[in-house]
């Protein structure tokens, strides 16, 4: 089996997704043996993109000219581009305040130094380049990352389920926080794969994995409103990990 050459990069994000890889302690020797890791600033001293890459795995949103430069360079030198994590796929936490002025936001944080900053609204990768595959999650699940690497060895991508968190939640026989406790659980709208981590310990789904296929956003909104939550509270909860919900969407 030919060893795939991979690059792992981080743009505007917290590095948590890349850490997910480093946290696969048991599997790291196997990964190091099966792949040639050519570019991985978080884990290698050598920091150059040297030649053609089979798979580039990119964490984070694009919010600076240098983010864009790295992304373009990777896209131009790789066969497959994999978006790693919610920021890369949906904008994520970094994009939470995208409807507010970037200039004002920068000013609030950096004061007068903000004028020097070259920053724009954080955007997911697909706004700029074609992505071939995505692993969602904030941070992504170890299992999905490893399954992706294993599939890449065979020259393919894995198939992940496309149902919402509720399905895993029900299969685990959790108490439904939405129905039984009238909590603002985002489970019905959010991509599964986490095995309902939060509801399993009594915490409502915060939506960190981003929208599920065919999310019925309008019906969930109606349900929350009927339960008495104010619209602005719902919207603010929903856009924590994804700012671009279409609140009219039904399928």
């Amino acid at each position: 089996m030919k060893k795939p050459i991979i690059a792992i990069a981080g743009l505007t994000a917290c590095s948590g997704c890349q850490l997910t890889l480093l946290n696969c302690e048991e599997e790291l020797p196997e990964i190091a043996q099966r792949f040639i890791i050519d570019y991985f600033p978080l884990g290698l001293t050598e920091r150059l993109i040297t030649g053609p890459i089979d798979v580039a795995i990119v964490e984070g949103a694009v919010s600076t000219p240098s983010d864009l430069e790295i992304l373009m360079k990777l896209r131009n030198s790789c066969r497959c581009l994999v978006a790693l994590g919610t920021c890369a796929l949906w904008g994520g936490i970094a994009a939470m305040k995208n409807q507010e002025s970037r200039k004002d936001l920068a000013g609030t944080v950096y004061g007068s130094a903000a004028d020097e900053l070259k920053t724009f609204n954080p955007q997911p990768l697909h706004r700029f380049v074609k992505i071939d595959f995505a692993i969602t999650g904030c941070p992504p699940e170890k299992g999905e990352l490893l399954a992706t690497l294993a599939a890449l060895l065979r020259g393919t991508f894995p198939v992940f389920p496309r149902y919402p968190v509720c399905s895993e939640c029900r299969s685990r026989e959790n108490l439904c926080l939405l129905i039984e406790r009238n909590e603002m659980c985002l489970g019905p709208l959010i991509q599964a794969g986490c095995n309902a981590r939060c509801p399993a310990v009594g915490i409502r789904c915060e939506g960190c994995r981003g929208p599920v296929t065919e999310a019925n956003v309008a019906a969930e909104m109606e349900l929350f409103l009927k339960k008495g939550f104010p619209r602005d509270e719902i919207v603010s909860r929903m856009q924590r990990f994804y700012p671009e919900w279409n609140y009219e969407q039904r399928s």
Binding site: R162, S167, R170, E173, L175, I179, V212, E222
Partner: protein, 331 residues
């Protein structure tokens, strides 16, 4: 007169004897307050008064996520070793027994599923009579004591009347004799339910409610959360996926619960979808549940347990279709 009466205060002894036949499981209230089938043991209370568990007993036959095949380059395909422990499921309501009887038809008739059969053979079913609540609509299903269970417990104010239906059940009953009293067998109670009758009639006439406005209404509200099928004792749809291991050599094939209201359910290679819209998917669900298709054509597979009505976050209830047509008939 036979020894078939179990006094309510002998339940602990009863469970102790049952446990000698295998791993004992039954309905309990979990820490988070969900009724669920779980292993029983000292300090764990068997629920004798419960309406329904969240997830039906089908999980013992078809686990939510199950490895069904392994592959290795050097040894080819291999089935998982079917070392299934003898399991005694106690406290099953008639609807759940009927649910298992239906799954038996699907998985053990014309094409036998080896994993299902191994698990089913290792299962002893002990039924328990119930009182319907506002979500139930089983009709006289509940009156039938057999439904393929090995032993049935019919409850009366001071005792349970036991009846064995199979050699397995008889063996258990024999061992229970020391703690049983003599009594007359209780006549099976009969229960009528207008909804169950309306469903039977609609099914016989092949009703599809094509013109109902409810389909669009359901489709507009459904969140495709999956609960209605995952929690249904007779929904058996599954998806198959394969995941390779990092060694590049071995692979496993998973079987996982599916729901016909998911987009993927009718999707095939190339992205073509047999049921693109939620409306179409609701028609499909209706047809499978109430008319049946393939080898189960003509069998109403809904056993009236009411779970789908309880677990739907947006209150979708297919029974409204039948109610609507009843209303139309009224002058």
């Amino acid at each position: 007169m036979t020894r078939n009466l179990l006094k309510h205060d002998s339940i602990a002894d009863f469970l102790e004897i049952l446990a000698t036949f295998g791993e004992l499981h039954g309905p309990v209230l979990t820490d988070v307050g969900v009724s669920a089938f779980r292993p029983l043991g000292p300090g764990i209370d068997l629920l004798l008064d419960y309406s329904r568990t969240l997830v039906p007993p089908k999980k013992y036959l078809l686990p939510p996520r199950d490895t069904v095949l392994f592959f290795a380059t050097d040894e080819g395909y291999r089935q998982p070793a079917a070392a299934v422990p003898e399991t005694i499921l106690v406290g099953l309501h008639p609807c759940d027994l009927q649910g298992i009887a239906y799954l038996d038809k699907v998985f053990m008739r014309d094409r036998i599923d080896p994993l299902y059969r191994a698990r089913r053979t290792a299962l002893t079913l002990i039924g328990l009579s119930c009182e319907p609540d506002e979500y139930c609509f089983c009709g006289d299903l509940s009156a039938t004591e057999t439904h393929g269970c090995d032993l049935f417990m019919r409850r009366s104010p001071c005792e349970f009347h036991l009846r064995s239906n199979t050699p397995k059940g008889k063996a258990i009953l024999d061992r229970l004799t020391p703690i049983l009293a003599e009594g007359e067998p209780l006549p099976a109670d009969s229960r009528t339910c207008d909804m169950a009758a309306a469903i039977q009639q609609a099914s016989v006439r092949g009703e599809t409610f094509e013109k109902s406005a409810l389909w669009d209404e359901f489709a507009g509200r459904c969140l495709s959360c999956g609960a209605c099928s995952l929690c249904c004792p007779t929904c058996y749809c599954f998806d198959i996926r394969e995941y390779g291991a990092l060694d590049g050599e071995t692979t496993m094939r998973l079987r996982e619960w599916d729901n016909c209201l998911f987009k993927d359910h009718g999707e095939v290679a190339g992205g073509f979808n047999f049921r693109k819209s939620r409306q179409e998917r609701f028609h499909y669900r209706y047809q499978h549940k109430y008319l049946g298709f393939g080898p189960t054509r003509g069998i109403v597979s809904c056993v009236g347990c009411g779970r789908c009505r309880v677990v739907c976050p947006v209150g979708i209830d297919l029974l409204e279709l039948f109610k609507e047509s009843e209303d139309e008939k009224r002058p």
